[in-house]
Point group: C2
């Protein structure tokens, strides 16, 4: 196998500052959850949430705004009344039996294959904000240049494993062809598994086909190997919109990855209580996951937890709150109850990369990690409740994600690390720096951050009192500069380019505008 | 019992902005750890650390720089060689049998009594920085005005339970009388349990006596009821200095609270490996805790974990790192192994209240809380690796601590909170705001932060883009303005004032300068 160009070029320019920063990155690997996830509710309480969700699906039911979906569900045994679908508890649980507990998400190159589920964690960058800020420029509309920059950063950052959306919306691309350019960028600038929005059937088809071409596999292989994700959001409360159902139909039929994510904001589109919001989240998630199994038994699907609360005075969503944290834990308990991989997020409500953005983020991460997250969406770069992508926050989150990954690694306990001899050698009042025990390990023993400054006040003051976001700007630019396109066979690349050109010539997809 | 003045006055001015902010505070209560603490090492690995520590104490030994201490230890069965004390494993473990698993720390007023140990958490403000910043002023030397302001904030903030040091060093008070004024401020501006530095025997004696007077109890009661804390730091590696040993002698003999805290910086004064630094931490902690039991069997003592790593290029200490986090967890495992309460901290290495200060802090809190902390030192206000107190960080940490406290509370799961009827009432496509289920709960259901802003970008932008630290400045000032001296019997107050006047007239304590 050909050595990737990125690595070779990186080695050639190893003296540059850029590579110094990137050299601090841990290698590309999935963190592993090695603790028992926290249980925020007892087994009995979990069953109470489960049964309440089943009651909602049996008694109130849920609207599926697609005739085909309703027909399929009727054939599977659901009760249909107009748009409304009611599931018996037995039907839901029978359909859930075929959901895979874990699956492989294939990268464009096999080095990027991911385990989805079990104790593995996969992380994505922020997805879908309409606005972007950073690199020395104020908040602006999302555009393709920023989109490409952020894809490059996602490729360079080893803590990002897969895509779960556009890291910012390239709003300067017409919606009819936006997905063609955006997917082309995604799978040529990066070799990590791509993503498609389920906002119309042809978009799903185009993105699946482009992913197949980029991977260099035939249709049968593509239909067996999960290689692309799509997030399906409910229109909370209790409604699956037409395009989302088309997305499930296109994706699940071909064994591609679905992340079902109800956006249950307690006090707005969901009950104000955490328990009630979780009941609604769980009812919607169960209905969607069950439907994937109607489309194709065994199709991979991920349980998305995204319950938070709103500011009851303004209706604005809040993130990284105690309610959010608790919901993260219970979401994980529910996913494990159903034996499906679990999606959570790294989110905050701040408008800038200030202390609030950081503490809300780490509280979110605390909930996600201790909740047993498998797919961490919006892992890096999210601000303003998801409306704004920040280059600086992306770098800072990368540092935090690298730390979390290191936190989850075991502590080596053996005679050498216990260091009884080194302690005896130094003795009372001594210093360990000069010992061979220290010298043998001093470049490798401790985690090296990219952003955190451990300068003392005097040198920080002399250096102009540079705070974390400004340090992150520099690193973001270095990452973009360091980006190299991953290797791709020339014939494959030509086929991919031709596909996009042809589809653009055809006018892309229909839009209303 | 007389209603505290603070509450009455608070009620009278209930329309003011000040009280609005303070009204968001949860009540004064100790958070309870309701999850099993995380185990970062296996039981076998924990025993390996334990046995390695015992080997250090038996083979290398530890210096006790006080003749009385060495004599007491010799009588207890330790082997003495100059300043060096060696403990057999059996002696250490025999002495540890009398350490209380938990104890009551008495407040100046009984409403402030605290449970130390078990699943209870007690939090202190930052302790001992020489510098202070905030309230619109740059970094400056610690002084009494700032000291008093910060004591007032610690009293007003319900998330702060006890003192563990001066929230900033009042450097404008001469060291001979500093402890008299500082303790007087501490026990008149606040009714939470006070603290004394073990930096000379008479200071311990003065502070214990002042606490006894303030509590209005006799000497016998004072000698039975733990009412004041002192932190004993080792001179790592492997040395207890004279004044620290005098502190143990004064405090433990009278059943007052000792927090033994080795400051084991991996790569500097401790082995570079987390395992080795923990072995040294544990050896030093065991020696100190054992000595408290030689002074008085059953004297209350807390196991302090404070292992972190240093920047190996500069020697600067780092905090909130993955190594720090892991050491927090293992520290808790060790404390529980010996059945003693556990101290950890909320720390960071940043020089300003930026994103770094926040993410390092929350990672520290994550480690402390999941490690099973009982006494959280430096809970609010720490910056610059402990050299700098920040008013703004104190407020922000208060918000975070209130969140953590709420996170640890159970989720109410019952028919009302599960909200199946409310979901049925709203149905697909509806909104929950108008339902009686929401309206009955909307002012009380969710946590209300003091600092976090959930404004949308437009209103945040119009308001001048105020970030978290600036919002915190305003709240800090409001807290100081809202402060009321807690009630104290006039005779007690007179006795206290007279004690301080007399001791100042006597010249306070001897100093070298």
């Amino acid at each position: 196998m050909t050595e990737p160009r990125r690595t070779r070029r990186g080695a050639r320019s190893s003296r540059s500052k850029t590579v110094d920063v990137l050299a601090k990155q841990p290698p590309f690997e999935q963190p592993r959850m090695r603790f028992d996830p926290l249980r925020a509710v007892s087994e009995d309480e979990l069953e109470a949430i489960h049964h309440a969700s089943l009651r909602v699906l049996a008694e109130t039911g849920i609207d599926f705004l697609d005739k085909t979906a309703r027909q399929q569900l009727a054939e599977a045994g659901a009760e249909i009344d107009g748009n409304r679908v009611r599931f018996s508890p037995e039907l839901v649980m029978q359909l859930m039996t075929t959901v895979p507990e874990q699956f492989t998400l294939h990268g464009i190159r096999p080095e990027r294959n991911l385990q989805m589920g079990g104790n593995a964690i996969a992380v994505t960058s922020v997805a879908s904000p309409p606005f972007v800020t950073g690199l020395g420029r104020d908040r602006r509309n999302g555009n393709r240049e920023d989109y490409r920059n952020l894809i490059k950063m996602s490729q360079v950052m080893n803590c990002i494993h897969t895509s779960a959306g556009y890291p910012v919306e390239p709003m300067d691309l017409h919606p009819s062809i936006r997905h063609l350019h955006a997917t082309h960028d995604m799978i040529t600038l990066s070799d990590k598994p791509p993503f498609v929005y389920s906002i119309s059937r042809p978009r799903n088809q185009d993105a699946i086909e482009m992913t197949r071409i980029a991977r260099g596999v035939d249709h049968d292989t593509m239909n067996q190997e999960t290689s692309i994700l799509s997030v399906i959001n409910t229109s909370t409360p209790l409604r699956y919109d037409t395009v989302m159902l088309h997305g499930i139909q296109e994706m699940s039929a071909r064994n591609q990855g679905i992340v079902i994510t109800p956006f249950t904001l307690a006090g707005a589109m969901a009950p104000i209580t955490v328990a009630g919001a979780l009941v609604l989240q769980n009812a919607e998630a169960l209905a969607g996951m069950a439907y994937t199994q109607v489309v194709k038994p065994g199709a991979p699907v991920i349980y998305g937890g995204f319950t938070s609360n709103v500011d009851m005075r303004s209706g604005a969503p809040a993130f990284g709150t105690p309610e959010y944290w608790k919901a993260c834990l219970v979401g994980g308990q529910l996913a494990r109850r159903y034996k499906v991989p679990y999606r959570s997020s790294n989110v905050n409500a701040s408008n800038s990369v200030d202390a609030q953005s950081a503490y809300e983020s780490v509280i979110s991460l605390w909930g996600a990690v201790m909740g047993g997250v498998n797919l961490l969406l919006h892992g890096a770069g999210w601000l303003e409740g998801g409306l704004l992508t920040s280059y600086e926050k992306m770098v800072i989150d990368g540092d935090i994600l690298n730390m979390v990954s290191e936190m989850l690694k075991p502590i080596t306990i053996d005679d050498a690390t216990l260091a009884v001899e080194a302690i005896a050698e130094v003795g009372p009042g001594g210093h360990f720096f000069g010992t061979s025990h220290t010298q043998e390990r001093y470049t490798t023993e401790h985690f090296q951050p990219m952003v955190s400054s451990w300068k003392n006040f005097e040198s920080w003051d002399e250096g102009g009192r540079i705070e974390a976001p400004e340090r992150a700007t520099k690193i973001a630019q270095e990452m973009i500069d360091a980006h190299q396109e991953p290797p791709m066979d020339a014939q494959i690349r030509a086929e991919l380019d031709e596909f996009v050109e042809r589809r653009i010539a055809e006018g892309g997809v229909e839009t209303d505008y």
